[in-house]
């Protein structure tokens, strides 16, 4: 019982394809948080409303990078839009991505127009850049502000289905492959969306707390508490769905369970059972649960929430790994498994993956230099 087809010895989709859904998940999740404020008027989230929108934008900018690193012929990448084969789920990528990027850029423009105008009135290169972004129109009054707000709200609403589409389609891409028993489930689409929301909220909490600490700001406690509640709720749904998927196959004891059960026991025991569920789901579940149900001192609560958010960021990354890599470890001969360990310095290795993941944070820092992402931040007393 250890035979793989000879072309399966090398895994085709590497750590880059693990990173891609991870990044689009952060985009979708961060965007949902910004929309909770802009569309659903959750005013307690005002402190991170701009930050979440900008985070979604910078992560979206870098989402195609791991794909380009992965493609055998990246110079032909635009074939996906020039000669799309609409029978393929993947053909939607170019169009969904472009539409979403457009909506996001426009929303940022309308949400942050006042700040751009303020900055454009100064002197220097950044001011000139802001004037360019504003297309030279620095006029602002109560009427324009109201119009901007209205349009931004509309765009935020349009963006929600687009965000779900962008990320859900990645889940569909895996879930619709009938050749792979580990991927082939209609639940994949839903699991990807909920885990995206989890990772998006988690990255905002993680980053907001780090930035506040570095700058000596006072954390907006109602905002943190609200995000904690959402994070707890969405993580329960996401983990429940993930468990439901595997438990239903296990309970049915179908033919495919013979090989999938062995995949879990032999290949994914540590990354899937121990790490994804027992460590990085259970501990955050308890930490967030305690903070949602009981009122602890702010300092202790924040430490627990930050740890939980950071762990959930790892949990979602592990989930992506276990789906993308795990599915490729099973041979389509159903008789054995292959192995995959990414190299560090190769084209699709860990160093490149780390660089791609770090870049959005750098761009976000630059973004904040042009337009403040936390205009409401107050120093700690």
């Amino acid at each position: 019982m250890d035979f793989v087809f000879p072309n399966e010895l090398n895994v085709t989709w590497t750590v880059m394809i693990v990173l891609y859904p991870y990044i689009t998940g952060l985009v979708a999740g961060a965007f949902i948080v910004s929309s909770l404020y802009h569309v659903f008027s959750r005013t307690e989230l005002k402190a991170v409303a701009r930050f979440s929108l900008a985070s979604a934008f910078v992560f979206l900018l870098f989402a195609p990078l791991p794909l380009l690193m992965h493609l055998g012929q990246p110079q032909r990448a635009f074939n996906i839009m020039i000669t799309p084969n609409f029978a393929s789920a993947m053909a939607g990528f170019g169009f969904i991505y472009t539409a979403y990027l457009l909506v996001l850029v426009l929303e940022i423009w309308f949400v942050m127009r006042s700040s751009f105008i303020e900055r454009a009135r100064c002197r220097g290169g950044v001011a000139a850049l802001c004037r360019l972004i504003l297309l030279g129109n620095l006029h602002e009054d109560e009427g324009t502000r109201r119009a901007d707000h209205k349009i931004a709200r509309f765009l935020a609403g349009v963006g929600i289905p687009l965000a779900c589409l962008l990320h859900g389609y990645v889940g569909f891409l895996f879930g619709s492959l009938k050749a792979n028993p580990w991927w082939s489930t209609p639940l994949m689409f839903v699991i990807f969306i909920f885990s995206a929301i989890v990772s998006g909220i988690a990255v905002l909490i993680f980053h907001y707390m780090v930035v506040a600490r570095l700058n000596g700001w006072k954390l907006d406690q109602p905002c943190i508490r609200s995000l904690t509640g959402y994070l707890w709720g969405f993580m329960i749904i996401a983990v429940a769905l993930e468990l439901l998927e595997v438990l239903s196959i296990a309970y049915k004891q179908t033919e495919e369970w013979e090989v999938l059960g062995m995949l879990i026991r032999r290949k994914l025991w540590i990354s899937y059972v121990i790490l994804q569920y027992l460590v990085f789901s259970l501990i955050p579940f308890l930490l967030l649960g305690i903070n949602t149900l009981f009122k602890l001192r702010d300092r202790l609560a924040n430490a627990m929430i930050w740890i939980a958010a950071t762990m959930l960021l790892v949990q979602v990354l592990l989930m992506r790994w276990n789906v993308v890599v795990g599915g490729q470890l099973v041979s389509k001969s159903m008789r054995g498994f292959t192995d995959y360990l990414p190299g560090v310095w190769e084209k699709e290795g860990l160093a490149v993956a780390a660089a791609i993941f770090t870049l959005p944070f750098c761009i976000l820092w630059l973004f904040n230099k042009i337009v403040p992402l936390f205009p409401e931040a107050k120093p700690r007393t």
């Binding site: 035979f3 085709t12 084969n85 029978a87 492959l177 050749a179 041979s331 389509k332 008789r335």
Partner: protein, 254 residues
């Protein structure tokens, strides 16, 4: 035998058809009628249907010499470590345990089998050139296509090398070519078919375990064989309608 679906699923086929019509129209102005006989017109002239290629493997005849693997590599320049075709060796021991392996080293020679063997047989594998091929469906740029004569091919000049077709193929027949960095697979030696020659693996098999023929010709050796002997398809439950027919296939094989 029913007439096979001969329509190519290539996305730009209709545009090509239009261009061909235009070219043919302009050609009439220059050449006298009938001065350029084509394969299609010759076929039409004799009333024969154009070919619809398919493949059969007689597993009872394969002896595991792997001459087909060597021929394929030489004919198509397949790089090391990837395979357009391969031969699986099945060994069932006295405890009914099934052991499968493939001779993957450069010389394509199976290592001597350890232990007692109750039963053993060989199964050559290759692209099944499915009628409803998933690889064609999932290709995002339309680089994977099926020709009108039933062969599934990859346009290496158009493929972006995303690997989605590799994931979608249930038979492990596709791979990313480590030299060209695009999807690659068995082509039924399409360059040979165009010259009226059989695929290299079929030609080289000393036991006639590999058979190739035209399903649209009821008198072809393949058509006759498929009428006379029971056969099995690989993973028929996936609805891909493979066009590689296995004669005498053991139930252990997937």
């Amino acid at each position: 035998m029913k007439t096979r679906n001969r329509k190519s699923d290539r996305p730009d086929e209709s545009r090509r058809h239009l261009l061909k019509l235009l070219a043919a129209g302009s050609g009439l102005l220059v050449f006298p009628l009938g001065s350029l006989p084509t394969r299609a017109s010759a076929a039409d002239g004799t009333g024969e249907r154009p070919p619809y290629w398919a493949y059969a493997v007689d597993t009872t005849r394969c002896m595991g010499c792997c001459a087909c693997m060597r021929a394929c590599r030489d004919e198509n320049g397949v790089p090391k470590g990837v395979f357009r075709t391969w031969v699986e060796r099945y060994r069932i021991d006295l405890d009914d345990e099934v052991h499968v392996d493939v001779a993957m080293h450069d010389d394509f020679v199976f290592a001597p089998a350890p232990g007692d063997v109750a039963r053993a047989f060989f199964v050559p594998k290759l692209c099944n050139h499915c009628e409803k091929s998933v690889c064609n469906q999932v290709c995002p740029v339309g680089a994977a296509y099926r020709t009108a004569d039933g062969v599934v091919l990859v346009d290496a000049e158009h493929c972006i090398g995303c690997g989605y077709c590799v994931q979608a193929c249930p038979y492990g027949s596709r791979f990313i070519n480590p030299e060209s960095h695009v999807a690659d697979k068995c082509t039924f030696c399409y360059h040979r078919l165009a010259r009226g020659l059989a695929p290299a693996c079929v030609l080289t098999c000393p036991r006639e375990a590999r058979l190739f023929g035209d399903l649209n010709d009821p008198q072809s050796k393949l058509s006759v064989l498929l009428r006379q002997r029971p056969y099995r398809l690989l993973k028929p439950e996936l609805g891909t309608h493979p066009k590689c027919y296995y004669l005498g296939l053991d139930r252990e094989v997937v």
